[in-house]
């Protein structure tokens, strides 16, 4: 069983790492040391892709904060909360390709959004959301938040519903303000889930955004929305440079691996602190 597991999961990774240190010459794979990695770090497009992935990480605090606020409002049973809950989670269930296509139409220069802005007398805000290198990445970031925040809401709400109601009642009886309740009860109770959602979201921003970019901008205009996954795809399947693609994949794998490791460490530490407390 262990051998089978190692083969199924380990072999592709080992093969990938091997490829990243090789180049094809006369039909043979030749060891070239760090050449592929050096080439990556000298490639402006790759650097741009890494920078864009890091920019996308800025989405994470926004997503966490938005999901937290929405979950708290829903937890307080505002009128129609069930409908809101479903509505907020719905985007998460939609295929990314569908979401990307819909927003591509909405954000065209002559699309629905700009037509609406012009109709309400705000033509100066009708911008080329996907056609401008200065705006395209931010537009994609908005779409990612729109789609991914629903998962956070559901996770937070599920955890909140399992918290003992007496905790909140006691705080209210003691005269705690709304903010104090959130700060001292809600957020501590949600800390593990927040941490989980944060790590998952960071991993998403670093290595799970290909579909958004591919459908909405294909990495353009002028590589302004290039991300590492798309870079890997282009190197491997358009430019016929599988070894460079492998090297870039290994880097993504390492960064993602480090994040997962950090998450485990944090959880372990949190567990230890709870034990001592």
């Amino acid at each position: 069983m262990t051998v089978a597991l190692l083969f199924v999961f380990g072999y592709p990774v080992v093969r990938l790492i091997m490829m990243s240190f090789q180049r094809t010459s006369k039909g043979q794979e030749v060891f070239v040391g760090l050449t592929n990695y050096m080439a990556l770090f000298q490639d402006e497009v790759f650097i741009r892709a890494v920078r864009n992935n890091l920019t996308l990480v800025l989405n994470v605090p926004i997503m966490v904060a938005a999901a937290l606020l929405l979950a708290i409002f829903l937890f307080e049973r505002i009128r129609g909360w069930k409908i809101y809950q479903t509505t907020l989670f719905l985007p998460y269930l939609l295929p990314i390709v569908v979401v990307g296509l819909i927003f591509s139409y909405i954000f065209q220069l002559s699309g629905v959004l700009n037509e609406a802005l012009i109709a309400i007398g705000l033509p100066q805000l009708a911008l080329d959301w996907l056609g401008s290198p200065k705006l395209a990445l931010w537009t994609i970031m908005f779409v990612i938040i729109w789609k991914e925040v629903g998962l956070g809401v559901v996770l937070f709400l599920a955890r909140l519903m399992s918290v003992e109601e007496e905790l909140f009642d006691a705080a209210r009886i003691d005269g705690a303000s709304w903010w104090r309740i959130q700060w001292h009860i809600t957020i501590p109770q949600l800390s593990t889930v927040i941490e989980f959602f944060t790590v998952i979201s960071v991993i998403t921003m670093l290595s799970w955004v290909f579909n958004y970019v591919y459908v909405m901008t294909a990495g353009g205009p002028g590589n302004s929305t290039m991300v590492t996954e798309l870079y890997v795809y282009l190197q491997g399947f358009r430019y016929n440079q599988m070894n460079l693609a492998a090297a870039a994949s290994v880097l993504i794998l390492v960064i993602t691996g480090i994040l997962i490791f950090v998450q485990f460490r944090l959880r372990e530490r949190a567990g230890e602190e709870e034990t001592f407390a």
Partner: protein, 436 residues
């Protein structure tokens, strides 16, 4: 005597069961063909189904399975197949580098020994697939790039629909007249990138005499920053500044840009002749379509040529039935099949045996004349795909966004080609050999 007759009978039976002819006739052969579908040539599916059926009737031991590939999966799927040395027997390829890169990678077999020379002589554009003295695929149908216009919109703008635009100044002037009647002069869509490559092939060619001039810059003999290579960026910027294009060109895909023309919102489009029949059907009549050569801004030999490439098919190096695959490809080029192809698709086959009396529309007659008398290469087929993607696709987007000047874009192209050369010494070697 009895013993002799018995021995003779045994020998005869053995010969019957083991002779190559008998084995060939009886052995079941399955050919798998991966192809691009009818995106360029609506009607191609019906034609291929019929062709396969007719071939299988003639050759009962052969079955042919066709597998459709999308634009995005066409190359990746074959890459994977090539890596595994397992996959189709027949693969669809665009011309030039799109075929030869796979030949260099060991995924394609040469066809010279499989198809007789007198048969090959009828195929149009073999030069695109020729490397190292061998031909690495079979041209199937022609795909050219006319400058298409809407005669009625021309008339409304005070332009003579019977007199195509010939000079660059005439084109700029036409843009002004069409803008004056609120018509988009030329429509396009750059978001998915591909149209940037077309623009390079359509406009970048004019100062040059042949594809070898471009390949000389690819292999480092000349530079993409040389004035002749910068010129097309300047001309494209000139068209942009003259208001020739739809303002949303950067936020539309090519297909959406094309729709503007088909819907009658735009007067001109850098099109593809394989689309013409479909456009005429959608627009209601061939009268809504006029074709012209791209107005000239330079005096290179390629400025007066009609861009045409042959989309084709190759036989994979790992196929166990190379000859059978070649026989099927030759069957596709029999006159009955060539004529049927044109009748079903309205697209010209890459073979000089088409019955030209079948071409009725004046626009297609004109294109056939251009394709056979002044053919010129599609430059995208003679540059590395990295240059197309990172310089042409990205550069045209940046130009229309107003982010870079023509000179900066020429430098960007040179930087990309330098990067490509350093990352791909072997491909550079092949290109150098090819360029000679």
């Amino acid at each position: 005597m009895k013993r002799f007759l018995y021995a003779l009978l045994v020998v005869t039976l053995c010969m019957l069961t083991t002779s190559p002819l008998t084995v060939q006739a009886a052995e079941p052969v399955k050919l798998v063909m991966w192809w691009w579908g009818e995106q360029e040539a609506p009607g191609a599916q019906k034609w291929l189904d019929e062709t396969i059926q007719l071939y299988q009737e003639k050759h009962p031991n052969v079955t042919i399975e066709e597998v459709l590939q999308s634009t995005d999966s066409l190359i990746p799927s074959f890459q994977s197949a090539m890596a595994a040395q397992e996959g189709p027997d027949i693969q669809y390829f665009w011309g030039g580098v799109w075929t030869l890169e796979f030949a260099w990678g060991g995924g394609v077999a040469p066809i010279d020994d499989l198809i007789p020379a007198d048969e090959l002589a009828h195929y149009i554009n073999n030069f695109e697939r020729t490397f190292d003295g061998k031909i690495w695929g079979v041209p199937w149908y022609l795909s050219g790039n006319p400058f298409v216009y809407n005669p009625s919109l021309f008339e409304k703008a005070g332009l003579d629909p019977k007199k195509p635009l010939e000079t660059w100044d005439a084109l700029i002037d036409a843009c002004g007249k069409l803008r004056a009647i609120n018509v988009i002069p030329i429509s396009g869509g750059l978001k998915d990138g591909w149209f940037g490559g077309w623009l390079y092939s359509i406009l970048g060619r004019q100062p040059h005499d042949s594809e070898k001039d471009i390949m000389a810059a690819v292999i480092g003999k000349t530079k993409f920053t040389d004035p002749k290579h910068v010129e097309w960026w300047k001309r494209l910027a000139e068209l942009r500044d003259a208001g020739c294009w739809n303002e949303d060109i950067n936020s539309l895909d090519y297909q959406q840009g094309m729709d503007r023309f088909v819907q009658g919102q735009a007067a001109m489009i850098f099109g593809n002749d394989t689309f013409l029949k479909g456009w005429a059907d959608t627009m209601g009549s061939w009268d809504n379509i006029g074709v012209m050569l791209v107005p000239k801004y330079a005096d290179g030999k390629m400025a007066s040529q009609y861009i045409v490439t042959a989309q084709g098919l190759g036989i994979t190096s790992w196929s166990k039935h190379k000859q059978e695959a070649a026989d099927f490809l030759m069957f596709m080029h029999t006159q009955d099949r060539l004529n049927a192809w044109f009748q079903y698709t309205g697209v010209l086959p890459a073979d000089d045996r088409l019955d030209v009396s079948l071409i009725e529309q004046p626009q297609l007659k004109q294109i056939y004349e251009w394709a056979t008398t002044i053919p010129g290469p599609n430059l995208e087929n003679f540059i590395p795909s990295m240059m197309d993607e990172q310089a042409n696709f990205a550069g045209t987007q940046l130009l229309f966004a107003g982010e870079k000047t023509p000179e900066e874009l020429a430098q960007m192209t040179q930087d990309v080609i330098d990067k490509w050369a350093s990352q791909n010494p072997e491909a550079l070697e092949n290109f150098t050999k090819w360029a000679q």
